[in-house]
Amino acid sequence: MALAQRSRNASLLAGGTLVGLVVLAALVSFGWTPHDPLRVEATDRLLGPTGRYVFGTDRFGRDVASQLLVGARSTLYVGVVAVGLAALVGTPLGILAGMSRRWLGEFVMRANDLVLAFPALLLAIMFGAVFGAGTLTAMIAIGIATVPSFARIARSGTLQVMSTEYVLAARAAGRSPAFIARRHVLPNIAGLVIVQCSVSFAIAVLAEAALSFLGFGTRPPTPSWGRMLQESQELLAVEPRLALIPGIAIALAVLGFNLLGDGLRDRFDPRLEAYR
């Protein structure tokens, strides 16, 4: 038990630290970057790491470290908007589906299944084709595709809460569904939703990277980790550094959100206790 406790805290700590680093990088980039991330310096092309350029420069002579810092913003923007949208739409839908057992609940879940047939990447490409590619369309597409996972989690949590005695008592006392949803359901499923936020954030970061790589994400010249990777593809043989640096940044961010989600899940979900 002590060992399990320690490993849970380790996930929480490691995840929190990694996520904290990404947030810190984004915040710092607003006030300071080593160089102007967009400044093209023809004489400084493809320089290796030096005192002047910590991570070197890319093929246009732009500072990689500065792009990395500013790129953290794109990653967080997309994640926050997509996950926020998904949580704000999906959670109430899930609660609704869990509380009304009749056709409304059934309809919400069927619609949910239909949205599941449109994965984030596909939806983002469709949106890009119709509305034009960009950060906003990517965020909205990833957000819509993530709604079902929140709706499912919220629904199963709601079903559990609805069968508890205190909810039965509240219903017997004539409390309105809105009251029950606000006072009993929401506080009890909040933990599940927070865990889902962290896990979905990791998926959103990967999706944003893939979209930027395909040219459907953040538009140039705004720095983004996914596009840094894409721009480095042709130079991989000569300068693997240019792919590895943003690649490691993406991997660490995803790892951070996943670890954070694992740590939070163990904290919020006492049922797992038995298996440890």
Binding site: D113, L114, L116, A117, F118, P119, A120, L121, L122, I125, M126, G128, A129, V130, F131, A202, L206, A209, A210, F213, L214, G226, L229, Q233, L236, A237, P240, A243, G247, I250, A251, L252, A253, V254, L255, N258, L259, A274, Y275
Partner: protein, 319 residues
């Protein structure tokens, strides 16, 4: 548990599948046809003369009511006719079928790689969950999940194609042309698609096996005289497979779309690269057809997973 009950369940699921496909086709049609405004305008660009626009609209039937446009499209799709491209003026269907073949190969082998990796590693991680080796596998899987598939692909190309020269860095040889070259070309794309998904799957297999290991019926199996691994293989894995299969379905859907990225890295002529090319050339009718095929693919996978679940879990067959 009777045959007729199984058939009833099958019919019910098939009806849901058909309804989902129809609703999805309406959604895709409306989204790709109505929202962008005028597909002819989109295809021809802003500089097209009004006469050319009108002629193109008429030629492609865009001046008719939406409902008959939709029915024409869906009716055609059922017989393999996806319409004629606004841009290339060639039929979309044959090319789509060609491209689909490439993607199916890629996704199929990618899935095999993922399974071949996840089942043994996940089981081992569960059986040894108290030992360092089990923790190491879990940690490795956690890291693997965080790597984008296209990065894995780029690094694999760098190592095995550029540095070592063992395998081609991209391109496609049809299997009936040169089987050897076909297989060699498939290795790296399948690995980059499969390894990352394999890491995700490893974690699910581990959780599921760990869950099963704590079940009473495994203790019963041991008390009969089965050794630990025998008990796990004969009694545990089938039950552990159930939750994994659900995930497998979701994963196949992810792979189908993830293939888009890998096809781009390895320059494979699959459905994904056709989708990206069609978007680039603003060929919305082709996009519409490809999206429909991909979505129907995802729905079909879910349908098969549901059926598989019923076959494997006797409790779901009803009594």
């Amino acid at each position: 548990m009777t045959t007729s009950a199984v058939l009833m369940a099958l019919a019910r699921r098939a009806a849901i599948l058909l309804a989902s496909v129809l609703v999805a086709s309406v959604v895709i049609f409306l989204f790709m046809t109505v929202i962008p405004g005028d597909p002819a305008q989109v295809a021809l660009g802003v500089n097209a003369t009004p006469e050319l626009l009108a002629r193109t609209r008429h030629e492609f039937g865009l001046d008719r009511p939406l409902i008959s446009q939709y029915l024409d499209w869906v009716g055609g799709v059922f017989s393999g006719d996806f319409g004629t491209s606004y841009v290339t003026r060639e039929p979309i269907g044959p090319q789509l079928v060609d491209r689909l073949g490439v993607t199916v190969w890629l996704v199929g082998t990618g899935m095999l790689v993922a399974l071949a990796m996840a089942i043994p590693l996940g089981t081992l991680a569960a059986v040894r969950h108290r030992k360092p080796s089990g923790a190491a596998i879990s940690g490795f899987a956690q890291l693997g999940i965080a790597v984008p598939a296209f990065l894995a692909g780029m690094l694999l190309v760098q190592l095995f194609a550029v540095r070592l020269g063992w395998l081609p860095s991209g391109g496609w040889t049809p299997p009936n042309q040169d089987a050897g070259a076909f297989l060699r070309g498939l290795v790296l794309p399948a690995l980059s698609l499969g390894l990352v998904q394999g890491a995700v799957l490893t974690r699910y297999v581990r959780t599921s096996v760990l869950d099963t290991l704590g079940q009473d019926y495994l203790r019963t199996a041991r008390s009969k005289g089965l050794r630990p691994y025998q008990a796990l293989f004969r009694h545990g894995l089938r039950n552990a497979a159930l939750p994994v299969i659900t995930v497998l379905g979701l994963q196949l859907a992810t792979l189908l779309i993830g293939a888009v990225v890998v096809e781009r890295v390895f320059v494979l002529p699959g459905l994904g690269s056709m989708l990206l090319d069609s978007v680039a050339s603003r060929d919305l009718l082709a996009v519409q057809g490809i999206v429909l095929v991909l979505v129907v693919g995802v729905l079909l996978v879910n349908f098969v997973v549901d059926l598989l679940y019923t076959v494997l879990d006797p409790r779901l067959r009803g009594s």
